[in-house]
Subunit: 357 residues, 2 copies
């Protein structure tokens, strides 16, 4: 296939199948800035889903968000949600709360028989993640993890190229994500800086982007990891501010990655193979336009393409899977692999040793 | 200083000082393809030096190269060179032989009182490198290592930006160099694939580019390293074909790097700081035009500039230092830091542990 053919219909939804099913009705669990400013607007633009219930620990906030969202029928507290209040008004839940509280909300949703789309990382510990996977399996409820990069067209085209051998045998991957957390969320008491709520700061929150996206593009899971973490600024005392890590994949493929929650905003993902390379840059922020550079032998260039709303793609993908009666992916077991890798990365940073998975 | 001011006179020789001294006369020791196709032509284009003697193990090859180079006065064997034959015809030596043989030629040059420019890595072992440093110090002879990236204008401007804080506090560096050694030098018996002659294959031969150039741009030396090495193809059995490594620098700066002698040709070096980033891409091959991307806060772009012959810059820099009576840099002790880091990287790859330096 020529490079041009890969990029015909660059932003095509290669996962979408038409159905006559009605839209999937979402309960939004957790009404922080990401849900309010990214998720709810994305669902408003979506084809296959709508927001009908909002859930918060703060009932006034829930009422306020409900009042600003035309499709919402009910605003409930976490306790009411767990008790099944307004359960007839939604089909699925989107969980976007501090990582450590994901399991309680996901288990509650499973008990109510609701499909789950849970933010990444799926939990603060592998024990919590396993509990979520088991609860959803026991109740026969689909559990998907909200890796928005997996429905990003630039990333999907990169994965196609790698899968078809366009860059030859993959050899190295390079990933990087950095931002200024405290400029973005100017609150030193935020849960991302509290390991008991987050499970870890920079590695867990944004190191997971190069980690998971490399897994997706290579279609492979890690076999060993190594990491260093550093904490320099007072605001990041006791948590990982800057991280650097290596991830070994089967077949002698190695990824080298960095992430920082206190650096110049920048991000990219690259795979170098025996015959070429593919690079997504910027890669990981929904606010930046994504770019794609491809080289195959002596031929190559930077491709221009229409940008999509990653969150709309993610919600529509999940909803369309439910409409078709197929289990949405990436599933809970896929998410658990990241949690185990993240725990191994932190263990490596403590011990200075490679950790096999 | 504005970004534009950094790039006024981008390729300026910030190291050059006018003198009335005559050109430095070089003996070229080792007449492999790099010396014949890169070094001798570079010196022919240089302002401050010329090739007057050629030295090879193969006297016919030496005669042939001499016949093709107008300035050459004598062609001698290694034995003749060690015995001081034609020593009046040159002021300095350029050593470009298999790494393990650098010490014998450098010690011979020092005994003859000749200044030395030795290819990287300076030796196959730290023991050999130390012997070279001691011999040159004992005889009061300047010893420089031929890191051509250190006189590359794109790299020097990147270093200026970092030194002046334009990207804020450096946090992460990313480096990569890959090529297809056997396509370039189609000989399975070549010395680069023989650890007893090279000291190591990919890490020593090209991993040293991101390693040393990161040191130069950050103006810092490594404090700890970690590496993985893999060998996949039959031609690379028993040696490091692909490598991935981390280098920790003082002040919580970490570099993540990859290199391969059997991959798609590609190279780059990037530094991400608290306020911006600077990226040289392509970076490390003299055949590729170098490029420079700079971002400072929300301002940034890709700078176009005139390309220079890196080897001419390197030879002229070394020669101009000798003309001015100053010790040329990077010196042997600087090169020894790399050899110790390379040995630690291989040790880490063996043990799966971080190695402190």
């Amino acid at each position: 296939m020529s490079l041009e053919q890969y990029f015909d219909g660059f932003t095509r939804r290669d996962w979408e199948v038409c159905t006559d099913e009605p839209p999937v009705r979402f309960a939004m669990v957790g009404l922080g800035w990401w849900t309010r400013e990214e998720a709810i607007p994305a669902v408003e633009s979506a084809d296959f889903c709508e927001t009908t219930v909002v859930v918060s620990g703060d009932s006034e906030k829930a009422e306020r968000v409900a009042a600003g969202t035309a499709t919402v029928e009910a605003a409930v507290t976490y306790e009411e949600f767990h008790a099944g209040v307004a359960a007839d008004a939604y089909d699925a839940v989107y969980v976007c709360t501090p990582n450590a509280t994901h399991p309680e909300h996901v288990v509650a949703a499973a008990d109510l028989g609701k499909a789950v789309l849970c933010e990444k990382p799926m939990a603060a510990t592998s024990e919590g993640a396993e509990r979520m996977v088991e609860a959803c399996a026991d109740r026969g409820v689909p559990l998907a993890i909200a890796y928005r990069m997996q429905t990003e067209p630039a990333v999907r085209r990169a994965r196609d190229l790698v899968a078809d051998g366009a860059v030859g045998e993959p050899i190295h991957a390079h990933g990087h994500m950095a931002d200024d957390l405290l400029e973005f969320v100017p609150d030193r008491d935020q849960w991302r800086l509290d390991p008991s709520l987050s499970g870890g700061t920079t590695m867990n929150d944004i190191g997971i982007y190069p980690l998971n996206t490399t897994r997706f593009v290579l279609d492979a899971d890690p076999v060993a990891v190594y990491a260093t973490t550093t904490s320099v600024s007072e605001a990041f005392a006791g948590v990982d501010e800057h991280v650097a890590f290596q991830v070994e994949f089967p077949g002698n493929v190695t990824a080298v990655c960095t992430a920082s929650h206190n650096a110049h905003r920048s991000s990219y993902l690259e795979v170098v193979g025996s015959e070429g390379r593919v690079r997504v840059e910027p890669a990981f922020f929904p606010w930046d336009d994504r770019g794609l550079v491809v080289e195959v032998g002596d031929v190559g260039g930077e491709f221009e393409f229409e940008q999509v709303d990653q969150m709309t793609e993610e919600f529509d993908h999940f909803a369309n899977c439910l409409q078709r009666g197929v289990d949405p992916h990436p599933d809970g077991r896929h998410g658990l692999v990241d949690i185990e890798a993240l725990e191994a990365l932190y263990e490596s940073a403590e011990t200075g040793r490679r950790v096999a998975l």
